[in-house]
C-alpha cells in the first residue's frame, strides 16, 4: 500500500514536472521565433503563430493524455483477461490499439493546425 502511494506520488510529480518543462520551452521557443521576424510580421503573424502552436500542442497533448488514460484502463483489463485466457490475446490487443488511435487523431489534428500557421 505504501509502495503504491509512493509510486503514485512519483507519477504525479513527473507529470507536473513534464508539463512545466513543456510550458517553459514552448515560451522560450516562441520568443526566439519572434526575434527573427520583422516588426510588421511580429505584429500580425506572431499572434497567429503563437495561438497555432498552442492549439497544436493542446491537440497533441490532450490526445496523448486521453490515449494514456484509455490504454491504462483497456490495457489492464486486457492483461487481466489474457492472464487467464492467453488465446484471446490477439482480440484484446485490438482494443488496446483502438485506444492508441486517440493519440493518432491528436497528432493528425496538430499537423493540420501546424500546416495552417
Amino acid at each position: 500500500m505504501k509502495a503504491k502511494k509512493e509510486f503514485k506520488r512519483k507519477v504525479v510529480l513527473s507529470i507536473v514536472f513534464l508539463v512545466a518543462l513543456m510550458g517553459i520551452f514552448s515560451f522560450i521557443g516562441t520568443d526566439n521565433l519572434y526575434a527573427d521576424e520583422t516588426q510588421e510580421v511580429v505584429e500580425t503573424g506572431s499572434a497567429n503563430l503563437k495561438w497555432g502552436l498552442i492549439a497544436a500542442s493542446i491537440a497533441f497533448g490532450f490526445g496523448a493524455l486521453g490515449a494514456g488514460i484509455a490504454i491504462a484502463n483497456v490495457g489492464s483489463a486486457a492483461m487481466g483477461a489474457i492472464g487467464e485466457k492467453p488465446e484471446i490475446a490477439s482480440q484484446a490487443l485490438i482494443f488496446v490499439a483502438l485506444a492508441e488511435g486517440v493519440v493518432v487523431f491528436g497528432f493528425i489534428t496538430a499537423l493540420m493546425i501546424l500546416g495552417k500557421v
Binding site: M1, K4, K8, V12, A72, N73, V74, S76, A77, A78, M79, G80, A81, G83, E84, K85, I88
Partner: protein, 356 residues
C-alpha cells in the same frame, strides 16, 4: 486521487470474467458426468484446471483428500482476488473470506466436540482441516487439541470470533454445536452488511440485493427444517433467523398462518420481493416436503438469475466479483457431487438426475 469504477474493476473483473467463461461449461459438465468411472472423472478434472486435486486423488486414492484440495482451491480464490484489489473492495473481499474460515472452524469444532464429548476418534478426519491462515490468526492445531472450553476461548481471544466464544453458553455440552454455528453464520452476514456501507452506492445496492436473497434462502431453509420438521418453538426460531433479507420474521409468519386460507407463510411474505414465487402453491400438507424443497429451489434459481443479469450488464461493478465466488462455489459443489456419485458407482443418468 479517487479511483473510478473503470480503474477499480477493469483488471479484476476482466480476469474474473475470463475465468467465469470457462467455469461450469456444458462441455465440462457433460465430460465429468459422462466419465466412465471415478478414474476417468478425475482425469477430466485434470484437463480442466484441477490438476492438484486430481494429483491428490492419484497419489492417495482418497476422495476426501480430493475434496479437501478443492476446498483449498476455493480459499485460494479469495486470496487471489484480495491480492488484485484495494480500498473498500479489498475490505469487502477480506470480510467475504470469513465464510470459508467459518466452514473450517465448524469442521474443527465438530471434530473437537466429537473427540472431547463423545470420545470419537479424530485422527482420520483431522487430516482434512485447513491449518494455514485463512483470515484471522487462528492456531488450528491448538484448536483441534483443545482440552477444555477455556482453551477454545484462548485460541479465539484475539480474533473477531472472541465475542461468540467468550459466552460459554454457546456450546451446549448436552446438545450440539447448533448455537455456535448459528452465531458464526450471523456474524458473517452482519460483517458483510456493515462492510457494504463503505462501498459506492451502486456496489452497495448490488451487494445488498445478493446478500438479501442469500439471507432469505438461508432463513427459509431453517424455517422449513426447524419449524416444520423439528417443531422448534417460535421464540427459539425467532432468535436463530439472520437479520436482514426481505423481512422474514416469525411474528409476521404466525399472523399470516392464522389467516383464513393462507398459504405457506414464508412464501406469502417473500412473494412481494420475488414475484416468481406466486406460481407455487405450498398448501398441500401431504406433499409439504417436496413443495418446500421446490420453494428453496425457486429462490436459488432467482439468485442464479440475478447473477446472470449482473454478468450481462454494466461490467464495472462488484457484481462480477460476487458472481465469481458464487459460480466457483457452485462448481466445487458440482464436482464434489459428481465425484461422489462416481465413487458410489451411480450411472451417468442417475447423477444427472440427482444434481438437477
Amino acid at each position: 486521487m479517487k479511483k473510478t469504477a473503470v480503474s477499480e474493476y477493469g483488471f479484476i473483473n476482466a480476469k474474473l470474467r475470463a475465468r467465469i467463461s470457462s467455469m461450469l461449461t456444458d462441455e465440462f459438465k457433460t465430460a465429468l458426468i459422462g466419465a466412465d468411472g471415478i478414474e476417468a472423472a478425475v482425469q477430466v478434472l485434470s484437463s480442466y484446471g484441477y490438476s492438484k486435486a486430481s494429483e491428490k486423488w492419484n497419489t492417495t486414492g482418497d476422495i476426501q483428500s480430493l475434496e479437501f484440495e478443492l476446498f483449498k482451491n476455493h480459499i485460494a480464490n479469495y486470496s487471489m482476488v484480495m491480492k488484485n484489489t484495494d480500498g473498500s473492495l479489498n475490505g469487502l473481499i477480506n470480510v467475504l473470506s470469513i465464510k470459508p474460515e467459518i466452514e473450517n472452524i465448524k469442521s474443527v469444532l465438530r471434530l473437537w466436540y466429537g473427540s472431547k464429548l463423545r470420545h470419537s476418534p479424530i485422527n482420520y478426519r483431522s487430516a482434512y482441516i485447513i491449518r494455514e491462515r485463512i483470515r484471522e490468526n487462528i492456531d488450528w492445531n491448538e484448536l483441534i487439541n483443545a482440552v477444555s472450553y477455556e482453551d477454545i476461548i484462548s485460541v479465539f481471544s484475539s480474533t473477531i470470533y472472541s465475542e461468540i466464544f467468550n459466552n460459554e453458553a454457546v456450546i451446549d455440552t448436552g446438545d450440539s454445536l447448533f448455537n455456535v454455528e448459528i452465531l458464526l453464520d450471523k456474524l458473517y452476514y452482519r460483517m458483510v452488511i456493515e462492510e457494504s456501507y463503505k462501498l459506492k452506492k451502486n456496489d452497495n445496492d448490488t451487494l445488498n440485493e445478493i446478500i438479501s436473497t442469500e439471507i432469505d434462502l438461508q432463513n427459509v431453509s431453517w424455517i422449513i427444517r426447524y419449524r416444520h420438521f423439528y417443531k422448534m418453538d417460535t421464540s427459539k426460531l425467532s432468535s436463530i433467523l439472520i437479520p436482514g433479507g426481505h423481512g422474514l420474521n416469525i411474528e409476521l409468519m404466525d399472523n399470516i398462518s392464522k389467516e383464513e386460507g393462507a398459504g405457506f407463510a414464508p412464501m406469502e411474505i417473500l412473494k412481494k420481493s420475488y414475484p416468481e414465487l406466486s406460481s407455487l402453491n405450498i398448501s398441500n400438507k401431504h406433499n409439504f416436503s417436496a413443495q418446500a424443497r421446490l420453494f428453496e429451489q425457486l429462490l436459488d434459481e432467482t439468485r442464479k438469475r440475478k447473477f446472470t443479469t449482473i454478468l450481462t450488464g454494466y461490467p464495472f461493478t462488484i457484481g462480477v466479483v460476487l458472481a465469481y465466488f458464487f459460480i466457483s462455489e457452485r462448481e466445487l459443489r458440482f464436482i464434489s457431487s459428481v465425484i461422489n456419485g462416481k465413487n458410489y458407482k451411480f450411472s451417468s443418468d442417475t447423477i444427472k438426475e440427482m444434481i438437477r
